[in-house]
C-alpha cells in the first residue's frame, strides 16, 4: 500500500500521461467510428506532450522568462521540453486536419463513418 501511495505522490503526472495514452490507444483499437478514432489519436498526442513537459518541470522554480536580468540556473525550469512540445502541438493539428479530409472523402464515397461497413463495401466492389 505504501508503495502505491509513494508512487502516486512522486509520479502523478507521469501516471496521468500513461492512463491518457492507454485510453487513446483503446479508442483507436476498439471504436468503429472514424471521427472517434481521430479524437483518440489526439488524446494520445496530448498524453505524450504531458509526459515530456512533466520531465522538464522542477519544483519551486519559475517559467523560463528572464526576470530582472537574472540568468541563474537555479531559478528557471528546463526550457527544452517546452520548445519541443510547442511545435508538436501545431503539427498535430495539421495531422488531424489531414485525417479529417480523408474521412470526408471516404464518407462521400461510401456514405458511412463505420470502418467495418466501409471495409465490407470495398470487398463487395472487389468481388
Amino acid at each position: 500500500m505504501d508503495v502505491i501511495i509513494n508512487m502516486l505522490r512522486n509520479h502523478y503526472q507521469d501516471i496521468a500521461a500513461v492512463f491518457l495514452f492507454v485510453i487513446g490507444m483503446t479508442n483507436l483499437l476498439l471504436q468503429q467510428n472514424l471521427i472517434k478514432k481521430i479524437i483518440g489519436l489526439d488524446i494520445m498526442d496530448s498524453a505524450i506532450y504531458l509526459f515530456l513537459a512533466s520531465k522538464g518541470y522542477i519544483a519551486g522554480r519559475t517559467a523560463p522568462i528572464v526576470v530582472d536580468g537574472i540568468t541563474d540556473v537555479e531559478r528557471y525550469i528546463n526550457p527544452i521540453p517546452a520548445g519541443l512540445v510547442l511545435t508538436g502541438i501545431v503539427v498535430s493539428v495539421s495531422v488531424s486536419a489531414l485525417m479529417m479530409a480523408l474521412t470526408i472523402c471516404l464518407y462521400r464515397e461510401y456514405h458511412t463513418l463505420n470502418l467495418d461497413e466501409i471495409m465490407m463495401k470495398i470487398r463487395k466492389e472487389e468481388d
Binding site: G60, V73, L86, V95, A101, I104, T112
Partner: protein, 324 residues
C-alpha cells in the same frame, strides 16, 4: 546431416518457410470481413446489400448471435480479446517503467543537464530574447522550426488536393457545394454580426500583440498565428465569403503562405551566400527587453505567425466549401 522429412509437404514448417518467403498468407480468406449479399449484378442487388448493411449497423451486437457471418463474428471476438490483452500489457509495462523514473519535480533528474544550463545562462546574452523558449526554437534551432513550418505548408497542400472543388472546370459540384453552404450557414444573423463587430478587432489585435511580443512574453508565432486565424474565421462565419473576399481572397492567402515560407528560408540561410562565416544574425542581439531587439527573431516570429494563420484559414475554407 539431417534426413529429409517424409511428411514435409503440407506440414507446419513448409507453411512457415513459404510465409517467410512471402508466398503464403496465413490469414488470407479466413479472418477477413466478407460481403453478405449474394453475387448478382445490378442495382437491385446493390440495394438489398445496402439494406443488409443497415440491418447489421442496427443490430450490431446481435449480429454474430444470429449467425449472419460466423467468420466475421469470430474475427471480431478474437480482435477484441487481443486488443484488450495488448492494452493491459501496455499499461502494466508503462507503469512499471514510470516507477523507475526520477521523481516529479526533481532538480537532479538527468534531463536537467548542461544543455539546458547553457540555454538559460547564455540565451539572453547571445540571442537577446527575454523568453528563453523563443530564443531556443527561433535562435539556436531555427532550422528545426523551418522544418515544422514546411510540415504545415505540406499539410495544407494535401488538404487542398483532397477537398478542392474547381469552380471553373466543374460548375456542377461547385453549385452543390454552394447550396450546402447556404443551407447550413444562415447569413445576416444580427446577434452574431454585432458580437463579431466587437470581437474580431480585439482578437486580431491580441494575435498581432502575441506575435510581435514573442521574444518578450509567452507566445510567439505559433500561438499568435492560431489566434489571428480564429479572428478571421469568426469574421467569415458572421459575414460570409463575399465580404471577406474584399480583403482576403485566394490570391492573397496563397501569396502570404508561400511568401512567408520563402522569406523564412532566406532569413535563416543568408549567411550561406555571404561566405558561411557567421551563425549570428546581422542585426545583433540589441538591448534585451526592447521591442526591436533580438535580431532576426522578431521577423522569424512574424513569418511563422503568417504561415500558421494562413494554413488554419485555408483548412477552414476548404472544409467548408472546397475553396477560399
Amino acid at each position: 546431416m539431417s534426413k529429409p522429412n517424409p511428411n514435409y509437404k503440407g506440414s507446419f514448417w513448409e507453411h512457415l518457410a513459404k510465409w517467410l518467403r512471402g508466398e503464403y498468407d496465413p490469414v488470407k480468406g479466413r479472418l477477413e470481413t466478407k460481403a453478405v449479399a449474394k453475387k448478382t449484378a445490378g442495382k437491385e442487388e446493390m440495394q438489398s446489400f445496402d439494406q443488409s448493411i443497415q440491418k447489421i449497423g442496427k443490430y450490431d451486437m446481435r449480429m454474430f448471435e444470429e449467425g449472419i457471418d460466423r467468420q466475421v463474428g469470430r474475427y471480431r471476438v478474437v480482435y477484441r480479446i487481443l486488443s484488450v490483452v495488448t492494452v493491459v500489457f501496455l499499461i502494466s509495462l508503462l507503469l512499471w517503467t514510470v516507477s523507475y523514473m526520477p521523481n516529479f519535480g526533481d532538480p537532479n533528474a538527468p534531463t536537467n543537464n548542461e544543455v539546458s544550463q547553457r540555454y538559460i545562462e547564455k540565451g539572453m546574452e547571445e540571442m537577446g530574447t527575454v523568453n528563453i523558449v523563443t530564443g531556443m526554437i527561433l535562435g539556436y534551432r531555427a532550422f528545426d522550426t523551418f522544418g515544422e513550418t514546411c510540415v504545415l505548408f505540406v499539410a495544407s497542400c494535401c488538404v487542398l488536393f483532397l477537398l478542392r472543388v474547381d469552380r471553373e472546370d466543374d460548375p456542377q459540384s461547385a453549385a452543390v457545394e454552394e447550396m450546402n453552404d447556404r443551407h447550413f450557414e444562415p447569413r445576416n444573423d444580427t446577434i452574431l454580426q454585432k458580437v463579431a463587430n466587437f470581437l474580431v478587432p480585439l482578437i486580431l489585435i491580441f494575435g498581432i500583440y502575441v506575435v510581435l511580443n514573442g521574444h518578450l512574453s509567452p507566445g510567439g508565432g505559433f500561438s499568435g498565428g492560431a489566434i489571428m486565424a480564429s479572428g478571421a474565421i469568426l469574421y467569415l462565419t458572421a459575414y460570409g465569403f463575399k465580404k471577406t473576399h474584399r480583403f482576403l481572397n485566394e490570391k492573397v492567402v496563397d501569396a502570404m503562405k508561400a511568401g512567408a515560407l520563402i522569406l523564412y528560408s532566406f532569413a535563416i540561410t543568408y549567411f550561406l551566400y555571404t561566405g558561411a562565416n557567421q551563425l549570428h544574425s546581422i542585426f545583433g542581439p540589441g538591448t534585451p527587453g526592447n521591442i526591436l531587439s533580438a535580431g532576426l527573431i522578431v521577423f522569424l516570429n512574424i513569418f511563422v505567425g503568417v504561415e500558421v494563420a494562413c494554413t488554419m484559414y485555408t483548412f477552414y475554407t476548404l472544409f467548408r466549401r472546397g475553396g477560399i
